[in-house]
Symmetry: C2
Subunit: 424 residues, 2 copies
């Protein structure tokens, strides 16, 4: 059974109930969304975890990526990062480990972290291939599916799979002569594999088998955007959109098999193209939930990509994106530190909140209302309690000792709210 | 003479030349904009400083607010903040000092800082009133104009003046029963003054006199939004829009007198209302340049309002705003530290850049192109050179020693760009 198949039968699962409660909506709304494929609830049948609904009409969810790289492997630190991300409001965590010991990392994260966990199985297949002293282009097709199945058994809740990069598409990428080529790791693995083996993408060719595995464990498929643009100049080009068209067809096939499915999106996109990208995805992909990384609407602020991505994410989520992958200040430069993870989650939560307010979601407006009241009443504790991060604003407020609670050090006696309070 | 009067005569001033050169456009474009009032060049005739054009078709400019409060007065620190803001790309600085010694601060900033300087003269009038043991509502009308004239003589380049809060409007604010009342300091001073003296706003009543002073020194008027909303629930309400209507009439009168004028805007605005607010301002205010503070599209992230404002600012500037006032992480809590000023400027520069790219400005796209090329070529030094902040990304990159320059610690051997480079 999958959440989708149950919804289609009209059965209410405990997960649906929990999601409805969290969103403050009637469970019928969740059932309708699951049935139509506009909502997913990522949860592997083998895992016990908090659940969240992702999709149309629900609050925008936030994912944090953690994991080792071939250059840095520190298990404790990555588990700490995952927990910190959840503490600051991440609704899901992806383990993107690519170090030699990546299996240890995934197992620890699945055990220690209490939100849906996602992976990119092709990373494990790639690392196993390299560990066996072979090259990525020599990766064994069977190995890819073995990895997917073993991770499914372990309890992974959602998986990024770059099923849309087809053999037909590879020469189009070359012809496009992109500024930045391919910037998705999974995308590069598969495009190079296709090119050098002159064979079809195994994830595309054996998509039915993939759907069988996904169905058995109720894995939510996250169809990867292997050809997302890596700079603004490559945005919305033929390879990107052609891959999206392919993904639309694959969404349909997943939904027909009652497999939960969402679609991943760009990437590096100029601000004026974000809305069109969201609308195109929804239209081509049968309104499946859209999971975006960023988007980043300028590339000239390395070290601050959490801010750049907050801009893009807010616009994306207010125009249809349902699930925002965080970007940390370390993006394009290094693995994030604990502090970077915190900054990344907070930036993305702000984007999600701004979008939810924009969409008129009651849950978001209640917080805005409560914050305004706390401000008007100079109830500082209440303000900090509502805040995404309670401790940082408290430190700022207390930097300067002020006896009168009806002001802060910014405006002092000239606090407009204090002066206007009685008259206006 | 003013830049506008010269433009109307078809005279090219050195300032127009400099602005055209900075923007990479023909000087005729600047002359046309100045003539129509869609571009301003804030520069007092008594001051030597860098000049920037603000308005339609030009790159988005950034302002940083600094200055003392009644609770914190540290002259050296405020000068340092102003210089740091300029170092990170601020195109203007406003001295918003309200401490007892505020005149010292303004004079030091005017002397030490090499960009256009703005003030809010009503602050000095207010502080002088309080220093004389009177209350704000006892402020003398003549004093306001004396302060404006003396600051004009000193060389202030642009002044925020809340001319649009009229006697007719004050009962409307009360009737509106806003959640947050009035949150502009100048707005509160004037609304309270009007209410308690049962008299018209002196800045409105004596607007012709104000125009005379502005004309004499070529002060750019920045018509203040004293009734901007202080929370999302108050956004786009009757008092806010009525004040904007008033400002539209005042813009016309300024332009008729060849006085340079821009209009200030909100504030706390839900994301879905930002575009409409920008379009309304342009339409009501005869396309005068729009100078916005934020806008902030959610209130639940105190301590991170620089990120929230970057979201709002990017959307505003891509829909017509020409000049973004920064917001620092300390907003609503305290005066900013040096670090906060830096974070505030960078967040706002990112917003400005994202908007300029979105608007198709060549100057912005060139930077995007250069950054993409530097990334593709793994030219790290070039990347850091183009970056808004060169030092932070360098620190991130160098955190982890890697012999191979064609990767970073984030993806290590699995760098997509490295793998895809030769084939795609």
């Amino acid at each position: 059974m999958t959440q989708m198949s149950e919804a289609l039968k009209g059965n209410v699962t405990p997960e649906m109930e929990l999601v409805a409660k969290y969103e403050g909506v009637n469970v019928n709304k969740i059932i309708r969304g699951l049935s139509k494929g506009t909502i997913v609830i990522p949860k592997n049948i083998n895992r016990k975890t908090k659940v969240y609904g992702i999709g149309e009409g629900l609050t925008t969810k936030v994912n944090a990526n953690i994991g080792s790289s071939s250059k840095i492997e520190d298990l404790d630190l990555e588990v700490k990062k995952a927990k910190l991300a959840v503490e600051y409001g991440a609704n899901a965590v992806m383990d993107l480990s690519t170090g030699p010991e990546l299996n240890k990392f995934r197992k620890a994260i699945l055990k220690e972290v209490d939100v849906p966990i996602g992976t990119v199985p092709i990373y494990e297949a790639g690392v196993q291939t390299l560990n066996a002293n072979k090259e990525i282009i020599d990766m064994d097709e069977d190995l890819i599916f073995k990895v997917i199945e073993s991770q499914a058994k372990e309890g992974v809740d959602f998986m990024t799979l770059h099923c849309g990069i087809t053999k037909e598409l590879v020469p189009k990428i070359q012809k496009q002569n992109r500024k930045m080529g391919i910037v998705s790791r999974g995308g590069t693995f598969l495009a190079s594999w296709i090119l050098h083996n002159d064979s079809e993408n195994p994830l595309y060719e054996n998509y039915d088998y993939l759907l069988e595995i996904a169905k058995e464990y109720d894995i939510t498929l996250s169809l990867g955007d292997g050809l997302r643009p890596g700079c603004l100049l490559d945005a919305s080009d033929i390879p990107q959109i052609q891959e999206l068209v392919n993904l639309g067809g694959l969404v349909k096939r997943a939904q027909q098999e009652k497999v939960q499915v969402m679609v991943e999106g760009p990437g590096h996109i100029p601000l004026n193209q974000i809305k069109a990208n969201m609308e195109l995805q929804k239209s081509l992909c049968h309104n499946a939930p859209f999971y975006v990384l960023g988007p980043i609407p300028t590339d000239i602020a390395p070290g601050y990509d959490h801010i750049t991505a907050a801009i893009g994410g807010a616009i994306a989520a207010s125009n249809g994106a349902d699930f925002l992958c965080y970007v940390t200040p370390a993006e394009h430069l290094s693995l994030p530190s604990l502090e970077d993870v915190k900054e990344g989650v907070i930036g993305t939560k702000i984007a999600a909140e701004a979008a939810d307010v924009s969409l008129g979601l009651e849950k978001a407006w209640k917080k805005e209302n409560d914050m305004a009241e706390a401000r008007r009443n100079f109830d500082w504790d209440k303000q900090f309690e509502i805040a995404i991060d309670s401790s940082k604003p408290r430190v700022y407020k207390n930097k300067c000792k002020i006896d009168d609670d009806e002001m802060c050090a910014m405006c002092g006696e000239y606090c407009a709210v204090k002066i206007a309070k009685d008259d206006f």
